[in-house]
């Protein structure tokens, strides 16, 4: 690789980067666009752009504004925090490299919050539905407990290689954002409502919506674990209930945008097959 200094001179980059950000002051409030300008540096990603925006707290017109709110964590694409819609496409802002974004459009980088989740503020959204889905499909191994009971079941290398990619899902929500069948459910807090009541009301609403590819994939992961399998029928019940695997429209955007390249559509097809078998069995086993 060429040293960063050389790269900047060979590619002739602008001195400044323009960023257009869709902001929103709180849930239910109207969104508005705001322009910011930051100094260009080699090897920048969207996170470092946003860090500069936060430190400046000034629009490109020089107007003082509160810093843009956004969510981030590890900055190396394993925590799943920093998902947003960048130049029209959902992705992790840490791995969205500025040089590459400027190839799309040299004048401007466009940032907006995910559209399938309620906006909390600016680029921050409430993704609790995503985790609720994991609860819906009971994405865990039902072990007896956490005492020492010796080793787990023997697992072949082949199985491990099938399951490992699925277990890399970092709950970032890219698949949900890109899925045409996954629609936003926004439940606003009522005045005086406790956190618990609010969460319960949200969950009840979420449970009517599509669980999403990530949860289907997790259900398949645990259904193929020797002990996780013990709850397979409960998971299949969830996957054939309202908002289950049948809500998938096979657009296959999920697998195309997944930053971890998880074979989500394979999981969906596996879930489809399992649902076929499960529902036929259910008819005759009654």
């Amino acid at each position: 690789m060429i040293a960063p200094g050389n790269e900047a001179t060979t590619k002739r980059r602008p001195a400044k980067i323009n960023v257009r950000i869709l902001r929103q002051d709180g849930p239910g409030l109207p969104g508005y666009w705001e322009r910011h300008q930051v100094d260009y540096e080699p090897d920048m990603n969207v996170i470092s752009v946003l860090q500069k925006v936060a430190a400046q707290a000034k629009t490109s017109e020089g107007q003082k504004v509160p810093p843009v709110a956004w969510d981030c964590g590890c900055l190396e694409e394993v925590c799943g925090s920093c998902t947003m819609v960048i130049n029209g496409r959902v992705r992790q802002s840490c791995s969205a490299l500025v040089d590459r974004l400027l190839e799309d459009d040299a004048n401007e980088i466009e940032l907006r919050p995910m559209t399938k989740f309620p906006v909390v503020r600016d680029l921050m959204v409430d993704r609790s539905r995503l985790f609720r889905s994991l609860q819906r499909v009971k994405a865990w191994v039902p072990v007896d407990g956490y005492y020492d009971m010796g080793a787990g079941p023997r697992i072949s290398r082949e199985e491990q290689e099938q399951n490992y990619p699925l277990s890399q899902c970092m709950s970032c929500g890219c698949c949900l954002e890109a899925c045409p069948q996954f629609n936003k459910i926004e439940i606003q807090r009522q005045p005086g409502e406790t956190n618990e009541d609010y969460a319960a009301r949200k969950n009840a609403a979420f449970d009517q919506g599509f669980v999403g590819p990530h949860a289907i994939s997790q259900a398949m992961l645990f259904n193929s674990h020797p002990v996780g399998k013990n709850m397979a029928s409960e998971r299949m019940e969830a996957l054939t209930a309202t908002g289950g695997v049948q809500a998938c429209g096979n657009a296959q955007n999920c697998v195309a945008v997944c930053p971890k390249e998880i074979p989500l559509t394979t999981s969906i097809a596996r879930a489809g097959r399992a649902a076929t078998v499960y529902s036929i069995k259910k008819i005759f086993d009654r």
Binding site: A3, A55, P66, P67, G73, C74, L75, V78, S95
Partner: protein, 661 residues
Amino acid sequence: MGSNRVLVVGGGLAGLSAAMKLAELGVPVDLLSLTPVKRSHSVCAQGGINSVSDLTRQDGDDEWKHFDDTIYGGDFLQNQPPVKEMAYWAPKVIDLMDRLGVTFNRTPEGFIDRRRFGGTLYKRTAFAGATTGQQLLYALDEQVRRRESEGLITKYEFWDFLGPILDDNGRCIGATAQDMVTMQIRSFPADAVIVATGGNGLLYGRSTMSVFCTGSAASRCFQAGAKMGNPEFIQVHPTAIPGADKLRLMSESARGEGGRVWVPRKPADPREPKSIPESERYYFLESRFPKYGNLVPRDIATREIFNICVNEGLSVDPTRMSVYLDLTHIPRAELDRKLGGILEIYEKFQGVDPRDEPMKIFPAVHYSMGGLWVDYEANADGGLLPGSPKNQSTNIPGLYALGECDYQYHGANRLGANSLLSCIFSGLFVGPGIVNWMKGNKAASDLPKSLFESAVNVQEARHKKLLSNVSGDENPYLIHQELGDVMTRAATVVRDNQQLTEAFDKVSQLKERAAKCALSDSGNWTNQNVIFTKAVQDMFPAAMCILKGALHRDESRGAHFKPAFSQPSLVATDPSERRLEAERWCDAFEENNSKFLKSTICTWNGNEPDLTYEAIDTRLLAPRPRLYGLVGAEVIEQVWKERSAAKAKKAESGKEQLVNS
């Protein structure tokens, strides 16, 4: 104990395993985290988790050797009982994680595969690709979600811990915290509070850590009276990818799987790395440490890399200091199976495929060995007494610390793949002790409300003051940058008293300036500005502990390296002369240990930390020189061996005399 509750702060491996274990014991848990727990910094751990296995056992390994490696790797700065307990629990921890569904890599026959890691000669490390931390965290997250749906665990995600609440006797009875969305501040009454909030890499501006590793939670406990232990021991990881916003870790597993570190022998060699013939490459770790090779402990590897770039001028890149970490001799399929995750990170952020071209890496701040001081109670075998409320307890009764934010397990240097172990082990182990602790106390929920209200009032006052501080003119983001620069210059690989003194003054000034931060956001909805400013302000006590601890430790030990107080290497060539030199070396070593084989203990006096020292519990293993088979230092090891043999003989005969008389 119907009304007893535990508050767990932090949802990484330590916090989650504690929450999960407590829920199993029937204790309701409130789990509080800055971020959805599944996104905690533990996800970034890559390489693996250590334990003795059936396989290594047959090569002569056992738990004692794991314990020995850990203590030796930590340069004897740990109290030994907790480390021993951890090493003996390690196989059980891995068994449990295996049962929870962690997708560990497998051998063709279906057993858990192992790789070798730094500071050991055995292949002890279980791994799940190169995302072991992520996999372990997810398994625990899943169990916590399960307990959550059963109603035993209540999660509070996007909440910022503001500090412990103490009653008039100094017992911890809960904590205050702030909802980072609504900005509401409230108290969480609890009969025990566990702080498992990880490291403080953000003190250094850029490090390998996640953005929320500010160390503010530990600092808030410290400022509330908890002691801090060995804060000056900061691990600088030898191999990281330099970046504008973050220094991304390149796991030790890259070397564990055969990766080789080298530089061209010719300074500023302009050739492409692959066109440089073997004979013109300098594999400096392998040639200096033939026994351990590229897998020397991290502090040593870091110093060697730093030295080769800074002092010997052999950096491979003229604009950015770095050395080659070379994997290109390993088959692609094997790399993908075992290291896929980290190679993708390199590829994504550097745009170069490390399967084809050597990576360019340089050390980066990675881990804090020190942290909140915690107690333990040993059993007769020199391990820990299970169920003792003292285990993992800070000096504030009822306040526990686990994981990276405690100081207990890693001494002066942590071995790779031991951190995941210490986190999960301490999380599992602490549960029964906390249950016993709660038995003897009046339930926090029955205590007068005023205690909690006044704690909330204090925090609200701080919050309001910050929001209304319009007269200030300091920018918290820039202050943070300055702090990071000072800390990186003074308190990383090489330390110097003059520099440390200056840095301490500079940090004290910055602390004053940080008090005058003006916020660009004075609103009361998802105000990240104020949350960050508070975190920055709370970084200073921790930063001062590091600097002051380092300043007063006039020796070199593990990650703390002061050239001015290092033992010189042997220079004599004549064997008898050299032997004498080694004798003197060993004398000096013993003398230094009597002075500095102690834990630095910091307490907060309101303005700065006060230092005291505490003896190390070395009941199981006597300290010995830590050389890792360094070429040219064999004679020191020889002398030391003879001395310890003589000592043992003397002790034996003394015992006999005692029996005979």
